[in-house]
Point group: C2
Chain length 331, copies 2
């Protein structure tokens, strides 16, 4: 098997460290391994596969050496500047920021959903928004079978989605201290505000869910709306998803379709208090789907409750799965 | 002004104690005041308007004395047994349990929404479900003006809705202890499970929101669905509400309608990070509405974020407001 040279950019952040963990677990065929970050974090040591690596500062010359794949999770402005430099050197960037996601030249990929889209990349592949990824894993098999007409998302998002600073705000808040990252306390509170507000009154997080759902499911006209909310949970996003299908369905067929879908675990046994939970999903790579029930308020309607680890499947694991697709394609 | 004899049943519980607080604040014209509870809590002393009252045990003879109004918050089975006894003695019961809400002979009242329904009571008036009350205060003025065709509720409900035991589960959970009231940890978690599961896969809490919305808005055919979720917040319920109107609307008109609606406070200035928050609503009697924005995924659609103190407006305050209506009608 051909081995690759792989770099992790933004290696010291919450997603960056999880990149290393997931790469280890999945044992990717790596020849040379590099960890990079901003000047502030350069010089730190990270351990990977039992070996210590010194974090190097990300510069315009970082990609002068031969690197096949770079996993970026260093924020939009870093991606904006350095992903094209890496790509120009023949490296394929898998970027976790929102910077390139809606660029028509950049594929936006969830490996269980649209792996075929890697074929048209020109050096940058975008990793979707965390909330979108888990929804896509659940919705794609249903879209294929019943045709999705409209989706209403309401999210219950963990503080880990806001990185180390978000996590610390909840820790501090539980001790009665004021938040530093969030504009309001997150402990004992729900914040209907993730990412910045746009002119249409939606947050950028909400619009990401709308735009990215359409791009990943290849349906520019899909009807989608979203309300995204931060809740006082450390890790794993939960989502209440209301769906209107194009075609009639049997509920048992929806459950069966989800049970057979890649990356999905159906957790739906209310009689035994079994349904997806943030505490159960944390640390796992699957998307958990439950509370599957017909919505009688609309023709062909259904309600779902979808939970996944936003740092793993919602970010690091999805990016590593994309790297696996790239490596498979190189063989 | 005619003074009334008033009893609080279930006076030692979380809602019961708040009944006393709100009755004090609103200075209702009370002649004789009684506090009642089960044998377990009888004998305790509660202070009301600077005077101590010994909690008497609720028995079949509790209403032999002349009592005009009794506020019940003692659970469904207590209401089932004792509300008819009180009513047979000429007392009007305002009942906070779910026991009588869907009885066609029992009005279900939110004073800002359908005060006229007190006229056809026959001794029992039901106080709606906490999540329903706050939604109704926001939705009624919009229904009047634009006609509500369909509602999709996703709730973010505080542990105080499960009483003292729910509150303690979150306190204990934040210290790492196992839950006693809830079937799973509520700290660091979201539980898509409030009240019992019914045969259709919905929880009773979800069906309460569906049934009670229709009854309060006097529209048996209104299309409503709900996903109700417990979140690790001590007090105040938040709700993501997606609405489809019958008629076209201007967004400014929706905002203006809400600003002029009784019991509503519009908190909607995203540029300054102003939107309804559980921590801000706690201790208040108003329903806070924000994140008001057009939903482009459907004709005449809108998204709202609605927050209120579930123990006050969602229970005690609403019941005391009903008592005020009854007293006004007696003058």
């Amino acid at each position: 098997m051909k081995k690759v040279n792989l770099a992790v950019v933004g290696a010291t952040g919450m997603v960056g460290r999880t990149f290393l963990k997931v790469l280890e677990e999945r044992n990717l065929p790596i020849e040379n391994f590099y960890v990079m970050a901003s000047a502030r974090s350069a010089g730190q040591t990270l351990t990977f596969m039992g070996k210590d690596y010194v974090v190097e500062e990300l510069t315009e010359h970082s990609f002068d050496k031969p690197i096949d794949i770079a996993l970026f999770s260093a924020g939009g402005s870093t991606s904006e500047k350095f992903a094209p430099i890496a790509a120009a050197h023949g490296c394929i960037v898998v970027d976790n920021s929102a910077q390139w996601r809606m660029d028509p030249k950049v594929p936006l990929i969830v490996p269980e959903v649209n792996p075929e889209d890697i074929s048209w990349n020109s050096g940058i592949i975008a990793n979707p928004n965390c909330s979108t990824i888990q929804a896509m894993v659940a919705l794609k098999p249903l879209d294929d079978k019943f045709g999705i007409k409209r989706v209403v998302y309401s999210t219950y998002q963990a503080v880990s989605g806001a990185g180390v600073a978000g996590w610390k705000d909840l820790e501090d808040g539980l001790k009665g201290e004021a938040p530093k990252k969030f504009p309001h306390p997150i402990a004992n509170n729900c914040l209907p505000h993730i990412d910045i507000f746009l002119d249409n009154g939606y947050t950028k997080e909400e619009m990401k869910m709308i735009w990215e759902t359409r791009k990943i499911l290849h349906d520019d006209d899909m009807k989608v709306t979203a309300t995204t909310v931060r809740v006082p949970v450390f890790n794993s996003h939960s989502e209440s998803i209301n769906i209107e299908f194009e075609r009639p369905f049997e509920l048992a067929d929806v459950v069966e379709t989800l049970k057979n879908a890649p990356g999905v675990v159906v957790a739906d046994d209310p009689a035994n208090n079994v349904y997806p939970l943030a505490v159960d999903a944390a640390g796992k790579d699957e998307v958990f789907v439950g509370r599957i029930r017909r919505d009688e308020s609309v023709e062909n309607g259904i309600n779902l409750w979808v939970v996944a680890d936003n740092i793993r499947k919602g970010a690091a694991t999805n990016a590593v799965q994309i790297a696996q697709l790239l490596i498979d394609a190189m063989q």
